[in-house]
Subunit: 401 residues, 2 copies
Amino acid sequence: MPSGTDKTVLAVLYHLIHHGPLSRPELGAGLGLSRATASPVVNDLMRRGLIAEISTPPQGQRGRPVALLDVDDERYAVTGLEIGSDRVLASVHSLRGRQLLRIERAARADALNPRGLMRHAATVLYEALDVVDQEGRELLGVGVSVAGLVDATSGTIKYAPTLGWRDVALQAGVTEALGGRAPVLLDNDANFAALAELRRRRRDGQPTASLVYLTGTYGISAGIITGGVLWRGERGLAGELGHLNVEADGRKCVCGRRGCLDTRAGLSAIIASCLENASTPRRAGRTPVGISAGVDEVASLAQSGDQGVIEALAEAGAWLGRGAALVCAMLDPRTVVLGGHYARLAPWILSPARESFRSALLMPAPEHEQLEVSGLDAWAPAEGAALAALLALTDGTRALP
Amino acid sequence: MPSGTDKTVLAVLYHLIHHGPLSRPELGAGLGLSRATASPVVNDLMRRGLIAEISTPPQGQRGRPVALLDVDDERYAVTGLEIGSDRVLASVHSLRGRQLLRIERAARADALNPRGLMRHAATVLYEALDVVDQEGRELLGVGVSVAGLVDATSGTIKYAPTLGWRDVALQAGVTEALGGRAPVLLDNDANFAALAELRRRRRDGQPTASLVYLTGTYGISAGIITGGVLWRGERGLAGELGHLNVEADGRKCVCGRRGCLDTRAGLSAIIASCLENASTPRRAGRTPVGISAGVDEVASLAQSGDQGVIEALAEAGAWLGRGAALVCAMLDPRTVVLGGHYARLAPWILSPARESFRSALLMPAPEHEQLEVSGLDAWAPAEGAALAALLALTDGTRALP
DNA sequence: CTATTAATGTCTAGTATGAAGACAAAAACA
DNA sequence: TGTTTTTGTCTTCATACTAGACATTAATAG
């Protein structure tokens, strides 16, 4: 039975994951294959339950109607797990990217040490997998997202300041916790989120070869996509923008130096300066703990019209725009996307960021704004982690189900 | 006659260009092919005169001796042309990269306007091609290097301040001047030089997936290689580092803003500050004109031990190191290479650059110095242009001879 | 209501690529 | 000189992909 070479099968799956519902001819054209070649491959993948025909409304076109193909939405599931200092997120997705379940658990008091946190995360993961089992889906992979310096190749966390982790072999740990039930992938939040953003844009029909996703928790970091693929750096350190020096003699940074971008546009700095400049009197005992809580507080203050906070956000936005301009001068990506917590603060940050972005850039893009807000919410890293677990199937190292 | 698919043939040629002399088994292993598959492809390319067996000294190994293959050195030639404001360089190379001829012509008085300069460049090119013809070689391609903003896709110079060019369809012009004799490729000096540096490292046996080549004429620019391929940016603007803002309220820049990296580490700024700080009294009427002459002057002053100049160079080096640190924080390449005129000034620049580089970087590479000096000389862009013209044959868009 | 039309999906035959393995070739060593 | 060891070539074979013919399907025209 001729069903196409492995490489072709994987290419078809990858193409469908990124480029959404396509007919067999479109699929073939996109990959440089004839209809006759695409068809058996498609049928093979359909037999395996990885892709499916989706119901199509009548198209008003003469001739035989197209059967649109897409990744199958029913049979399998992938899971993304995001381990943060104040919460653990689990996001279960169908292969088409639909979120089937989201679990958010605040960090427990006993989960402050590394081992405790890992156990806590495992608990959340088990909870998610129970639902996967209940729905009768088969798990294809788990992506684990941590904010910090991650060596995706070896599957270890090099340094995650917010978690207090250093040289933790997390991939092996999660694999063990799963009993080898599914392959596990490890990367940082920015890289995963960039992948999710890339897919979203491609499925929206925007041919995207490059993209930078800006996010931050402990510090500003970026997921960098050049030439259509994620660039992690030679040692996995690409995109660590937090300690770019942007001021000759600026504020003192936790890294011991002065003038790092983090001291101006990092979330801790933003929260601190907003609360400092708030016109609204702070209610006693209401100092937010953790980045998420701080951002919530800042957002609600700004929402309520607090001018001091709004000005502080505008200033931080301007610094962030300068950082984005540095990225653009160096990489000239199609877009720089503000994501993560920055996306939540976008109403107050974006406009000043764009202003300083444009004024700092020698040749700003004329046609479209090159600095945009992510269309994904705070679940982007978890969603990207799940997506990456799916994409890992297409790299040829593992057998498809 | 089974001679391998086109794709395989091109892959073999590409692999040999980059990975130097290899035996048939090594070549096969590098490309994931069996000896039996590699052999006919190799023979086909040998018949066409593109690759050749090179004479090998006895290896002292038992068994049949290997026949090392490499790109053929005799039959063809590629040419690189570098058009600068003060000089035009032509560099003719064998396919193995040996420089067969170098021509350097100072700009003529009548070549200051765009059309005049283009005519001048054409003259130099013709001169080079005469030698190619005399040697009985066939020309496979011409690469044209210009310092400025270049759109390699459309083959136009967007903006070359030192030449006074704006929106010049140079690729078409050179193609016409050649009468379509050979394909013409256009790019900027940093990108071409990065390619040349990449090949050098690969042929030296260093597996290099990423590299940034820093150079400057009118301003600092970088050739960026990520994932083994050149990244030019979505609009061809990647690597334009000259106008990165590095000082909040720094010196005024020609771009109209303040604090650009160019005002500290750009060559014009370096020359100016060196001559200003020179302890040696300047001989009357000896103000150097043009970047090259200025660098010559500065180098000879530093060579003679002028402390003022040496200090000025050290300061510029420190700023350059900061710029390199920005690149590393963002891209984490295997190495940042100081090239072009910076390589000439390296004796006085490198050490302070490394110092500020390491202090500006959060996680400097532990094993090797990440900031290095190019092993190529001032001919790197021209050499890279010639190389790129050769590599263009392997992209499948043109038929091999 | 039927024939036409225009598009997709599937099937068959043919080409040829690349792998496996056997065999020949060529130098170093005993 | 025979053995050893590695490379290079030749033959055979499985199979992936293409071209082109044929079947399928729904909208439109008469």
